[in-house]
Symmetry: C2
Subunit: 687 residues, 2 copies
């Protein structure tokens, strides 16, 4: 599990049931913790956990585990880096890696890590910029301007990465300041076959036996980063029934979306996305099957696609389940009744649901074109993405910071260029394949009579045109990207790189769609959901948390098993179970244990807990989040949810839904006995 | 390659270029053969080839190769039978099979073979039934009535299977009479890993190294069938440049479809179909990956899906190629100009293109619902198919033969029941999986507000409802099917089998859609394409052949290689090349040669030709067709076309397009040296 390839845009306030909640660190569920668990987190406890937590901007979470910047995350989060530093001769994904000394640590090419240093509520300032009666285009512009400005001011003042985060889908705005690490090096990765043991068939399922871990180290000025806050490794580990906490970066949820909005997902957005994912899965499968080098090149992309496909299949199944729809519908009816019953609430909030529906009515007809052009679905190619970023960087840089598209705001340019100038390998064959297929897909949907089609294809078939574009663009060359990116608009405009030319053909319409979306969909959503969130605040009385936004959250839960089809599913698996699971499948992929494990079997303690489950409320993006005990000690690392947790996107339910973690004891056992990684174990032990 | 899972419906007259042509046996291209090859086939030569040819009703072709009814086809055509007779303990697909004596030959469960005995032109009688000025619904009924009647009369008179075949898409109607074999037994099959060596990556590609063969024997009254016509095995084999003939059953082509009709395929039908195929491919891949027994259960279905997916990707790519579209457009313009230029032709035919467009305008909006309900896409389950056939059999049998839906006509009932009462295994888990997914797909497209949805789902999610239906239906039991099928309408209607109940919910709307299709799409197509075909006849002057209809056709071609990206692709590969190809891929699936081959490597003559290419005009359904030389001797067996042949559906082009065949010499070499199948070799040699 990881942050989906498509971050959904909507975030809403919600009240908690059971162990539900992705709580803000500046608004922890003190009442809930006190009442249910008799636990009262101190501010130092919270600060320590917050600053020990790390965001992987490639889409995941992690934590510091030593004073020297040692970081643990999931293998499938580290995969982005592993893939980019691998070559046919040295495939870190398949064989794993172990740096026995700091000198052997391998630098990632474009990874950025963030550590949250402070949160400041800027709701009033943002809302003051949007005055009553403003048209939605004016509101969009005003909101963007104040957000871009706040961030720039903060960056200038503190030197920290500064993001204004939209919470409760528009009811609140908080300024998050992060310490950034861009020199990150690989310390240890196991073989992908044990990290992702069971492959796609076992993904999102439990019982599991995965060593889904990967160690990195953050560097500052070429030296291991010295950090004050890092988690201590629990010597005892957890047991059934223990209270645990998860500190990580859930990517996005949609829990207080209106029913009509969820139906839009079910009937429009999810089918489009699933169709796309299946298409890409089949395409890359056929590519990867050809030979091992192809498999290596496509590995990370294919993993991400299959992971998202399984996730969206689970989500759409939930929305096609009348029981879940009824629960959502009943909750909505109850809220609307509470609003109607109070004249003050009614006059302030009762139009919100209609506002959402109106925005959906605008969104629905433009949805496919928006995804194809502004979302880039028609141009599935790294080189196209680079070309578009370069062209827009040139165009947006001409404007005052307050007027720029959000991703080109001053405060974001450093991170944007970290990506843009990445030395990650780009493979011509794979680029041509995915670009041709996406052009063909676009053509299928919009038809040959779309005015942009002949201009983009230039009289050629999608396959021939894609091959030509990939062959003739110069943007694979990072020096050329820097020349354009640093040269400004005149230099970029002077380039007749064919990929830039395609961008210029498409961009006017793409920007038009984006404007329609921002003015007539996103801004109305913000205004409507701010009302709904406030209606919840004012009628629920309890503690609330906003939908996930790929920002740091605190979840809590109990370690416990569950019942499924009359069977009792245990809270934990163990290392012996991994060997049994492999044997049941004759050690055939994706159920093949690495040679290392097979030869070291006798040395391993079969009873060591390997994976465990808890009721902590997580979602994609939480991958790699540390699991800590009451003492704030590291006891495990989140790596997945079970199938029953997939509808947690819009509805939490812990009757069967569970978060999956790798047990800290299995990590140490494997590091010691399989990998002889004593340097890592020693560092973890704090000695 | 095999007959697609979706037989396209349209067939049109066309004139030939180069070695183009799927010629009728009662209208061979004598002029072409004489002029280009100085070859004049005698009537006995034609009759012998015709009656040596065999149609596999599971979707392919084959030929008799001994007086004792020995039949050769492709492994991937025989796969349908192999799959159905396999069990976890005895997997004929993976391990192959060799019956050393006739007693060891294994009976297929539901295979029907057809041998064409005679052709009679009944165009006048069919056309006489449809009088000028008749409404299209009346024309549909009149045409169906006369066809059903002709077939019934012929069956009663001759005892032979009798099918009226619509040729040139409605310009002609011929009555085909077949000898039927329903007792067919497996004689020899190699391991699937050599039959389909290279798997999906190599499918539709060349050079290839596949032993895609499978031997069966036809039985009559429990004894090997004695046949007068069978092909003699060539001792010399073919060489580069040789003239060859292919006699087989191409499933369907669309070569003289109007441009607008092809655009309908490109923009509506193919995207729908590809979306469906990719969806099913992903679904079954995830199922098959779980364990070897799942892989075994899904093998044939998954092969068929991947095969069709690769084929349709090639077809849509062709129609997205401006060069191909221009060629089709130019040809259409030229034909329409010839028609316009002649007042007589103009008054008779010039409205045909508009008639096609009108029919397409009716078809387009109902297309998805037609596919979901009448096409059964919403109910992807053998058990649903059985239930629908039972219910419709009950309903249609009440009507006079002339009024029945075509597949329930008297003359077809025996074949229909051969299928309906098949003992082929049905797996509950696979049925539930595919039914749940297809219900979910239907729900995605028509939405939860469709009036049929709640009635079919009965308040449950697709997954729960599918599981319930599969668990509770009794139709897995063949005895129950016979009780209903033979019991008549009262008995069927009295059954409250839940799967029959679903059929009854859906059938009124499905029949309504079918009626709309038949009256307002199919019949106008027939009338319009009859005009277009006649316009071609009257303006071309040359010999013509109709689009493919899964009926026996004669193709001709030259054995020769081609140029691709500046490389010269040879006319033939050899056995040594198979070993080299496996070695390049470290003998990893799907490039793994069977153990048998690896151990017998030294004994094999590496220079033996393995696969070869020719310019013969083939398409799906031709799989298993014999390739014969001028003497009518067997020199090879068609098993595929290359990627460049995929657009042959609508446009033949032999600059690079080629038909792929297994060389007769490789078959004998492998039978002798790898499999020690001396009994088969002896029988082939005619001794």
């Amino acid at each position: 599990m990881r942050k989906g390839i498509l971050i959904l845009l909507l975030v809403v306030g919600t009240t908690a049931v059971a162990d539900e909640g992705m709580w803000l660190f500046n608004r922890p569920p003190r009442q809930l913790l006190k009442q249910r668990y008799n636990f009262d987190p101190t501010q130092p406890w919270l600060d320590h956990l917050q600053k020990s937590s790390v965001r992987f901007n490639s889409g995941g979470s992690g934590s510091f585990l030593s004073a020297d910047g040692l970081i643990l995350t999931n293998h499938h989060v580290g995969l982005d880096c592993l893939q980019k530093i691998s070559t046919p001769a040295h495939d870190y994904v398949t064989t794993g890696y172990h740096a026995k000394t700091q000198a052997e640590e391998v630098k990632c090419v474009d990874l950025e890590l963030n550590v949250l240093m402070s949160i400041e509520d800027v709701t009033q300032r943002v809302n003051a910029a949007v005055t009553p009666g403003m048209s939605t285009p004016d509101a969009t512009r005003a909101r963007r301007a104040v957000m871009n400005t706040i961030e720039k001011e903060s960056l200038d003042k503190t030197g920290l990465r500064s993001d204004v985060v939209t919470l409760y889908q528009g009811a609140e705005y908080h300024l998050y300041r992060y310490k950034k690490y861009t020199d990150v090096r690989l310390v240890f990765a196991p073989e992908v076959s044990i990290a992702f043991f069971g492959g796609d068939p076992d993904n999102f399922e439990y019982p599991r036996y995965d060593l889904d871990v990967c160690f990195f180290r953050a560097y500052d000025n070429g030296k291991p980063a010295k950090v004050d806050n890092y988690l201590h490794w629990s010597t005892a580990g957890i047991q059934d029934g223990d209270l645990v906490f998860v500190s990580g970066h859930p990517g996005g949820t949609d829990r207080l979306n209106t029913l009509s909005h969820l139906q839009f997902f079910r009937d429009v957005a999810y089918p489009f996305t699933l169709n796309l994912l299946r298409r890409r899965e089949v395409l890359l499968n056929t590519y990867a099957e050809r030979n091992t080098e192809n498999e290596r090149r496509a590995h990370d992309q294919l993993f991400g696609i299959k992971n998202s496909r399984k996730l969206y299949v689970g989500r759409i199944a939930g929305l096609q389940d009348p029981a879940i729809v009824k629960a959502k519908s009943d909750a909505e009816t109850a809220l609307r009744q509470r609003v109607s019953a109070d004249p003050q609430l009614s006059s302030a909030y009762s139009d919100a649901w209609q506002m959402v529906d109106n925005a959906l009515n605008t969104y629905r007809p433009i949805y496919p074109e928006f995804r194809f052009l502004e979302g880039g679905v028609a141009f599935n190619s790294h080189l196209f993405g680079i070309a578009r970023t370069l062209q827009r960087l040139a165009d947006e840089s001409q404007k005052p910071n307050a007027e720029r598209l959000r991703e080109y705001r001053e405060s974001n340019l450093e991170s944007l260029k970290q990506d843009l100038y990445s030395e990650a390998p780009i493979y011509d064959d794979l680029e041509s394949l995915t670009l041709a297929d996406s052009l063909s897909h676009w053509l299928e949907v919009v038809g040959a009579n779309d005015p942009l089609v002949p201009r983009v294809l230039a009289g050629k078939s999608p396959r021939d045109r894609a091959a030509e574009l990939v062959r003739s663009t110069k943007l694979k060359d990072v020096a050329e990207r820097k020349r354009l990116g640093e040269g400004g608009k005149a230099v970029t405009d002077a380039s007749n790189d064919p990929m830039l030319q395609v961008v210029r053909i498409v961009d006017p319409r793409a920007r038009e769609l984006r404007k329609t979306f921002e003015d007539n969909v996103q801004e109305p959503f913000r205004q409507a959901y701010a009302k709904i969130a406030n209606a919840v605040f004012r009628t629920s009385g309890g503690e609330t948390y906003p939908d996930a936004t790929f920002t740091l959250r605190l979840a809590l839960g109990t370690v416990k098993g569950y019942e499924e089809n009359g069977r009792s599913i245990p809270w934990s698996t163990n290392i012996g179970g991994a060997f049994a699971h492999a044997a049941e499948h004759k050690n055939q992929p994706p159920f093949d244990l690495p040679k290392n494990w097979l030869t070291k079997k006798a040395a391993l303690n079969a009873g060591t807990p390997m994976n465990f489950v808890s009721t902590a409320d997580i979602i994609g993006g939480n991958s790699g989040s540390p699991v800590v005990n009451r003492a704030g000690e590291f006891v495990g690392i989140i790596f997945d949810g079970n199938l029953q947790s997939l509808p947690w996107d819009y509805q939490f339910d812990d009757r069967q839904g569970r978060a999956l973690a790798v047990d800290s004891r299995a990590i140490v056992e494997a590091l010691r006995k399989v990998y002889a990684a004593t340097n890592v174990v020693t560092e973890l032990s704090g000695k």
